[in-house]
Symmetry: C2
């Protein structure tokens, strides 16, 4: 499949699911997915800790969501206007998300962040947008982490500050002056190749205060973390309500839909913009979202995935120590990032996750992972048991490990 | 439904399917779609000449496409990597589209045009991009027709020329100088509120020659017209092959997927860029696309829709003349634009399409329409018969017709 793909697809076509920056034994193509498991094109089964990089929340092909989607498929999907489900879905979101008075549905997470930025500028008539250095807000020219083919003007009026650093935030606000349109906040720091970091309450509150004082718009980009930390915007966990929030990934359990939620304070700006896509009114995706929201709103999915994530974290800490490794397990337990202490070029992490793939467990050496509601305590315990064996083989191979060439190239490019 | 929507959705959330710029009797919400018909939220049935603004090519819920989609839904959709269908689909596109050596799949038409622009710049290391004045290439900040919330820098290095006007094209090329990265060509002129216009062979060839001479990249934006004029890129009709083409709308018969196709000449640029989305590897959409391409590749869909479109055009010409109206029916017959001669503020067109809605025929007063393969000669003949009656009622009401307020406001804003 890889050889056939190389003939008819650019390597960039794999995007965030490309395996070029992973150990060589990672599968690139998947035939099937069910519950917590995926099967690759060669028929190998993996317990999938990536959950499609987020969209799988309840378990792949959750029957409650599939049944809602197929019932709608029998009526219609993309039509010459939205179905009434668009209104029902907006009403449901407004009930669940405390700051939201209205909802806007689109397709990509990048659509949602781009629309939020556009609304912030339309609402305020100002230009400057602040984001945390290194935060990922999508792959459009204004926010892509890899700028090939973009021009410097694509990032005009974007200013950066250091996550959780109030002095740095205030310096960026001062630089924006009376032209500050908004702050796009990542709900917690979840960068590739780095430890995750939760926001301090003081930092989140300062973002809110600055927007209140200046009339700027506070946006929380909850595309990745939304409904994994709270049955609300993720900054409900630190007691701060944004004006706008961006959603995607998991709220239709894998069906293609993203969203912008807003308060009436910024409704005028939202009314004034133009953004649209051929498939944004897809009724199947909205039916899937309604079914998913009905399941997640009692909070049990978050409770269970957090509990299983903690069980995994505790177990891995214990067995890794047995083999002389110290893990940096950071961020919310249900969205784990697992890095090795003293592994600056990631050779240990690559060797360990590569061994885990051989055991049938799909973990990621440098991107945060996700737990899903279809996982069981048995799944977690089997993961810990396989990890024990994988730590042992990495320990034995340690003197001969080499770093991955593409990782070295990436780090070298970043340093320049 | 409209009152409920106004509480929880910004008016902008309807995008191109919003009815604010249409006669008051147009339905906003649709319950169901089947074949050539849609049913609104009140249960009224319409023969749908908008075809979801393009995605409906074969007929809504075509059983061959639905069966492929539901078979894939039973295996998996968005997973932790693409399914093998991604490769099969790229191979099939490369077989069908003459200029294409590779394919890249995304979600929105705007994704495809943005990626094409990025590849053109990455391939050439240059910045200037030419587009025809008034052409629609999507709703991102760099191309949206309504710039609320964008900044002038979003359009940096974009130059415009007049469609089909070689002197104007050459002037823009001269302005770009040695910084010309590419020309994004609309396959034919299909603007709102205007007559459509096919490209002259000389104009299309000149675009190709300029790119050959300068090393710039020729892009055809076939999102709207792709596979409606040719079983190939639309400029196959004028004998010109681009380096890149953008696809969307109809090639999965309504399932959410768009694409960029390219030749190996620009593969290096394509390999180098980063663009991705949470749902771009959706296997259901790819299964639907494979089934749709299998149906359209023998050319019979184009042949039938063109023939029915010509039958409609001839019939409407005849009956409109009977009531003293002259229609401007422009563009390919299967993508009709129907405007009235001597109707500068569109009051006649609005009255006529409004009467047609009352008869159960969904036409559009200012946007090009689409025929689908599920339409029959009987559907066309019933449309012509209803049109006869609608022309009569418009003729009778002519002295009292008023222009639509929002149209006046739009024209007034454009004039300033």
């Amino acid at each position: 499949m890889r050889a056939r793909a190389a003939k008819v697809m650019p390597s960039s076509a794999f995007g965030h699911v490309g395996t070029a920056l992973l150990p060589a034994n990672y599968p690139q193509f998947f035939e099937r997915a069910e519950g917590a498991y995926v099967w690759d094109a060669d028929g190998n089964r993996y317990l999938d800790y990536m959950c499609a990089f987020g969209p799988n929340l309840l378990g792949y092909r959750d029957p409650r969501v599939e049944s809602a989607a197929s019932a709608q498929a029998a009526r219609g999907d993309v039509m010459t206007g939205p179905s009434p489900l668009a209104v029902e879905l907006a009403e449901k979101f407004v009930e669940i998300v405390a700051h939201a008075d209205w909802a806007f549905f689109c397709k990509n997470g990048t659509d949602a962040t781009t629309i939020a930025r556009t609304i912030a500028r339309a609402q305020t008539g100002r230009r400057k947008i602040l984001i945390a250095e290194g935060s990922y807000h999508g792959a459009a020219p204004w926010c892509t982490p890899f700028p090939a083919g973009t021009v410097p003007e694509d990032r005009a009026h974007m200013l950066t500050f250091t996550f959780n650093d109030i002095a740095s935030l205030e310096a960026a606000v001062a630089e924006a002056g009376d032209d500050l349109a908004g702050i796009i906040a990542t709900p917690f720091k979840h960068e590739a190749f780095a430890n995750q970091e939760l926001p301090t309450q003081n930092y989140a509150r300062r973002c809110r205060e600055i927007c209140d004082a200046t009339g700027a718009v506070l946006v929380v980009d909850d595309v990745r973390a939304g409904f994994r930390l709270a049955v609300d915007c993720s900054w409900a966990t630190v007691g701060v309500e944004p004006d706008l929030s961006c959603w995607g990934k998991c709220f239709a359990n894998g069906y293609s839909i993203s969203a912008v939620m807003g308060s009436n304070r910024v409704k005028q700006g939202a009314d004034s913009i133009f953004a649209t896509g051929s498939f944004w009114q897809s009724a199947i995706s909205m039916a899937a979202a309604l079914a998913t929201l009905d399941i997640i709103r009692d909070g049990k999915v978050i409770e269970k995935t957090a509990r299983l994530g903690q069980r995994l974290r505790d177990g891995l800490d214990q067995v890794s120590r047995r083999h002389g490794f110290t893990l940096n397990q950071t961020g919310p337990a249900q969205m784990p990032q697992i890095l090795f202490e003293g592994d600056p070029d990631f050779r240990i992490g690559f060797a360990w996750t590569s061994a885990m793939i051989d055991h049938g467990f799909y973990l990621h050496p440098w991107h945060n992972m996700f737990l899903c509601d279809a996982m069981t305590e048995e799944d977690i315990d089997q993961t810990i048991s396989a990890a024990d064996s994988a730590f042992a083989s990495v320990r034995a191979a340690l003197p001969t490990l080499q770093p991955h060439e593409r990782v070295l190239a990436l780090f070298s490019a970043r340093a320049h």
